[in-house]
Symmetry: C2
């Protein structure tokens, strides 16, 4: 792509580094900013800078937070005896949106993935073990809510082993056919596992 201006080219190259954004989409965004008032660009860049430079993580659950203690960890309404282990802050938002979970979280900040050079020490797994140890039995259940992929299974397996010395119930989110999905179009592995992992019928 030939650009009429070096400034446009630099901006497009930077925007195109964002996930899911190609050069064409980046160009569209940059030209949009050119058409809009200068204040719009300033508002965007200031919001991004303020966010990136001031963002903090909760000392307890390592979720993104505006303070050292996140709203969930510091809430008295949340059940501190149930801990849900997730990969990313995004997963916390997804689970919160279901309004089905009243416990607290532990954000690993990633998943064990040797292909991408991510090992257990890069994640908040030591912090999780420490948290469980410190709680001295007050944590009753740990729910592993990790992606149903090989990396997710590896991470779940590793965490399970690390926590084997503690008397805590370790569960995993249910896997099976999607609610509202069509059996016919469910992939074979999911369908096969949902048969082998069948559960008692509940009325």
């Amino acid at each position: 792509m030939e650009f009429p201006s070096k400034l446009i080219e630099d901006a497009v190259n930077e925007v195109a580094k964002l996930p899911g954004i190609g050069k064409k989409t980046a160009l569209r965004m940059v030209l949009h900013l050119v058409k809009e008032a200068e204040g719009k660009t300033t508002a965007l860049t200031e919001a991004l800078n303020r966010m990136r430079h001031n963002i903090r993580f909760c000392n307890t659950c390592h979720n993104i937070s505006d303070s050292d203690d996140c709203a969930i960890c510091s809430s008295h309404r949340r059940d501190k005896s149930v801990l849900c282990v997730v990969e990313e802050s995004r997963d916390v938002m997804a689970i919160e949106n279901t309004a089905q979970f009243t416990g607290v979280y532990h954000v690993l900040g990633g998943i064990i993935s040797p292909m991408n050079g991510v090992g257990p020490s890069d994640l908040k797994i030591d912090a999780l073990v420490e948290r469980v140890a410190k709680a001295q039995g007050s944590i009753k259940e740990i729910i592993l809510a990790l992606s149903p992929t090989m990396e997710g299974d590896t991470t779940a397996f590793y965490i399970n082993r690390r926590l084997s010395n503690f008397s805590v119930k370790i569960t995993s989110i249910a896997r099976g056919v999607s609610v509202g999905g069509d059996l016919e179009y469910t992939d074979e592995i999911t369908l096969g596992r949902s048969i082998s992992g069948r559960v008692p019928f509940q009325v």
Copy 2:
């Protein structure tokens, strides 16, 4: 959507103002920036600010440029007697990519669109008339390369009327079936017009 942090929420709201970006995509981008080093965000915002605050437009063709005269207008290789009128800088880039045009451009900066409150005075149409007048007959042909929409046709009609006093040939880019396209799947209006606007067969 519930956000774990006001900073994240503000950043997502700003990013979601960009064209084609919804809240979910914006969140994905913002969380990507959180994971990356702070320097990445600074590089992005600096490139955007530098671009927006220093961008200039060519005095002659009104295309985006790093200086007061764009590379095309100041090139001695370009044929100044043929002027291609386009809506946006993006169109200049698209036509330049075809490598089929050796003349110069005139960027209107938009298209007449009463629905969006854009009238002839908001565009560089007066500047175009002035440019043609100043050239004193040295401009031989004006190609109207506007979108084949009602707004594009209106703008073309208006420009044609404004230039009727000058002895300049006014042409329009050819419309018809796409090269490599399938007749069967061409829309009826395009196919109909390509029949009524048929051209002599060339070997």
